[in-house]
Symmetry: C3
Subunit: 460 residues, 3 copies
Amino acid sequence: MKKLELHPDRLFSSDPAQRALARALYATVKDLPIVSPHGHTDPRWYADNEPFGNASALFITPDHYVFRMLYSQGVRLEDLGIPRRDGSRVEQDPRKIWRSFASHYHVFRGTPTRIWLDHAFHEVFGDRLFDRINECLALPAFRPRALFERFNIEVIATTESPLDPLVHHAKLRDSGWKGRVVTAYRPDPVVDPEFEGFRANVTRLGEITGEDTTAWQGYLAAHRQRRAFFKTMGATSTDHGHPTALTCDLTARESEVLFAKVLTGAASSGDAEVFRGQMLTEMARMSLDDALVMQIHPGSFRNHNPVILERFGRDHGADIPTRTDYVRALKPLLDRFGNERSLTLILFTLDESVYARELAPLAGHYPILRLGPPWWFHDSPEGMLRFRAQATETAGFYNTVGFNDDTRAFLSIPARHDVARRIDCRFLAQLVAEHRVEEDEAFELAPELAYGLAKRAYRL
Amino acid sequence: MKKLELHPDRLFSSDPAQRALARALYATVKDLPIVSPHGHTDPRWYADNEPFGNASALFITPDHYVFRMLYSQGVRLEDLGIPRRDGSRVEQDPRKIWRSFASHYHVFRGTPTRIWLDHAFHEVFGDRLFDRINECLALPAFRPRALFERFNIEVIATTESPLDPLVHHAKLRDSGWKGRVVTAYRPDPVVDPEFEGFRANVTRLGEITGEDTTAWQGYLAAHRQRRAFFKTMGATSTDHGHPTALTCDLTARESEVLFAKVLTGAASSGDAEVFRGQMLTEMARMSLDDALVMQIHPGSFRNHNPVILERFGRDHGADIPTRTDYVRALKPLLDRFGNERSLTLILFTLDESVYARELAPLAGHYPILRLGPPWWFHDSPEGMLRFRAQATETAGFYNTVGFNDDTRAFLSIPARHDVARRIDCRFLAQLVAEHRVEEDEAFELAPELAYGLAKRAYRL
Amino acid sequence: MKKLELHPDRLFSSDPAQRALARALYATVKDLPIVSPHGHTDPRWYADNEPFGNASALFITPDHYVFRMLYSQGVRLEDLGIPRRDGSRVEQDPRKIWRSFASHYHVFRGTPTRIWLDHAFHEVFGDRLFDRINECLALPAFRPRALFERFNIEVIATTESPLDPLVHHAKLRDSGWKGRVVTAYRPDPVVDPEFEGFRANVTRLGEITGEDTTAWQGYLAAHRQRRAFFKTMGATSTDHGHPTALTCDLTARESEVLFAKVLTGAASSGDAEVFRGQMLTEMARMSLDDALVMQIHPGSFRNHNPVILERFGRDHGADIPTRTDYVRALKPLLDRFGNERSLTLILFTLDESVYARELAPLAGHYPILRLGPPWWFHDSPEGMLRFRAQATETAGFYNTVGFNDDTRAFLSIPARHDVARRIDCRFLAQLVAEHRVEEDEAFELAPELAYGLAKRAYRL
């Protein structure tokens, strides 16, 4: 298990002129606080501040980036200690799991996972050995809040369902700890008729809110109420993970009828798609009132591998991107609200072919639109360079929103932000070296890309 | 409002070996005359040779690249003096409009618009101040013909509808001025059943030509007559801006029936699409007779924002590219005429994913096909580099046609050609530095890309 | 006809740091034997070891890369000596053909064809003159087996139909010559209902095998038998050239019914597509038993130009790539066999937009999947760089399979492998120079990419 040295010039161009500029730009942003406006860390960590378990439980078992790659190379998920839904035996010895991981470490060469892991080994633990990491994890300095502070996180957003009581956020609010952890409203479980348990979820939403969620107006009122509650726990944004970017703009009467149908469970796949699309437009309408920033993360084919889904459940590394249309899909919502200057809708994609063709032209016109950073598989050095090279000329820098880590892997957060800052400085250095922006402009842009744009776009 | 210095090495690679080569190549092409085979400048400018108004009227109000970006950042179009269709008040003070623009100048960082504007401020006016530009505009040296000559334009094509009487071109022809301004035949208003006023336009076409445009054969004859007339005004090309690249090859009888249907106004959207597709094939047939070079510009979703369309009209920055197929779409036309060595059909795209996958393989086989340069949103340094990197290996250089500025922004023309020349020299310098072409070949190719290919492909 | 000098640093970055690293890496792989696991050379060459004819017959007439480009520039195929199906006269004088080619040599500037040709002229003949090449071809040292040995080919795979008796392979096996030439099983002629002569081919398959190929089970048994026979001639792989990547997973009963239908000749285009898709799944099932590695080459629109097809027949340079979906298309096969650790399915594409979006995520998850190298139009320096830049971060290096030359142009084989080795070393050098992999890791990876991965993935 060869560990990558963290060279101070890593990820910069090797062209000396560009490298010197990138280094100078990076020096001005590397110590800026981390603003993490969208992610999936567990608020319980910060609320309870219990030690993380062991190296394997921290780095391998919960990280689908890590185990998907090992699985692709023939390692059984059982041997990595991934729990099976049927309760049958999987590897329990974290040392054996670590050994299996370490013996395959070369397969991560050239991947961002490798960069994140090595960054954590170097910067956080100073080592990559199982025992040494475990020793650290037992220390107070390695508890979640201590790491949060050491990582210089100014604010981090978690992502919760409307059904979540947000008890960890409440506990945090009452704890006196100064770390800022906010929630975000992710209503997929009560908005997507194809989400497992959808109907029960809508019923539960009614119970929580006291609204009649068997009726369209009551259902909408329940959303409004939960959004307001999420705002009391710091939420400044909503997030929507849909198969496509389809939006709809039905009449109230049509929406009522469709809602009744999806509640019966008899809705077709097409009905479900239209309902999700309508709900995006409804969420935009609510955002006009309560100022929550909207995010759409479309285009993932979830749980592509039925064997993995059946054995291990959702979110086990078998989500695959698909071709995604934005131009026609977003039109109903944009026709209705695209010109509202007080609304912000941040678009993400897993389909890079739309950067220059669709997303940058849309964001370079509509006042409500901003472009989210490269997402998921594209949250990588080459992915970030492609985003800047393909989106900037048409959308500019100021229609983008800085970086999102979007991760549940807490230890990777400083590494991911560091990669983003390095790559943005590299990109700016290239523009300066090629006389496409002035040096003083690059020095103005660098902290905007690292910090300012995220903070303002997400109203943090 | 920070102005970019025009560094002599701008847009070249910062690698010293490549830069030196690019500089040497560029030195041989920078002073070549501009051949502008396709664009949208107003022939009235050259015919009447009146002074341009003021800086805002020249740079901001007519340029949808400029105001779309400002609009995306929350600036109201009314505050930029864009006239509303309902006649309600918009900003009239050009100085206030300029101030609004100048205070947002940073949002153009990293965009080609910024490069074009700074080029004009430096090279044409020597300044970026509103008053100073206005002082210049009042001088004889800044009238359209003087600028045309100063820009070293050898020939420029404008683009007119078949219904246009071409009075400005006639006036120019009779004026004795030596500047060469030619028209191009753009029949969309009488070819696209979904164009506003289509039926009236076809009627008008009949009146102008004396042909019976209520019948298919008369309608075709009217086209032939107008094409011949356009040729007398210098036209060497036609241009077709269609939603898709679909072509059709109906029988004469099917065409007749379809034409009758579209004239009733009862045609479906599918009928309209087929009719446009059939007309591309008809235009190719006519080009075989009259030698006009064909251009197809497909794939723009026009007027995507209905609010903007209603308030300000067409062409106000809300055209968004869409995914575009060429392989199946062009087949009917290619089946019929693809092997004609005397016909030239130049293809453009807003969908860069087709460069390597579809366009270069098609152009690397069919004798009639040539690839137009990066268009619209892709007429930019990165866009041009992607085009060369993705198209050259399969299509070669000699199936491309040099550069088109395709602009109505007269002041941007020298800047755009300069960017294209710099980027092409940069690309060639890279090939030489990597020993992929020989240096003497690059010196042969550079003037071809800057001048020769355009002149020959467009038969100018 | 300007010949490119073969600079020792060709195709490396011109950045001095990267170039020095690339040079050092390349020095370790340039003399490794060639493993050519997939291609289209003629086994008769090696079996009979007759001299190649003349320069034109070797380089021009059989190479659709060469003549498609000349054709696109207006050269008639008849003038290049391409035989017409109607037997009408074409140019017979190889010297005239060569002259026509030489006078258009500049149109290949910037193309990989140019690189391959110049490599052969330099390295194999030391000259580019027609007479000098012909003199060489008459010498024993230029016969196929001598060139095979000189090219340092360790093993080469040819590609044959199940109907091929493999007499040349048998002759080779019995010849005592030590060169290793293996076949590969390409069943398209008996699997694709739209292949010309499909029904007769299936009948012939029955005659050859003694199986009842009028029945589904007999037809499958005939495949099994031929696969076993191909294995005796060294086959380690199958290959499937389908219009799309569609796979299906019908029941045995449904398959029987569909097979009966396609045998009647009454099958629709949709039926044919499903049948091909089902056969991919059947082939996977057989591979589980006989361990042949599967390859899918989808997405080519074959014989796009009907004039060329009619006059000259199949495979004359008019095959055009199309947009290709993998995520939904492969799901039926993956649902059934995607998690089998003993099966290998190598995916190719002509649609580069899927590298980062679909193929790398799929290969970075499913144990059976590996990514084939850039194919056909994308087998080029820029194509290879795009593949590595877009696939590596998500799939890693170890889910790729080294290089395939996939060619019928024997003389281009060392050139193609040399390009691949240079570009891979260049890519690795960039990663090292940017501190994304360690130098010792790059020295481990280089021979894997040049040799080891291909040998292991293809079980050679």
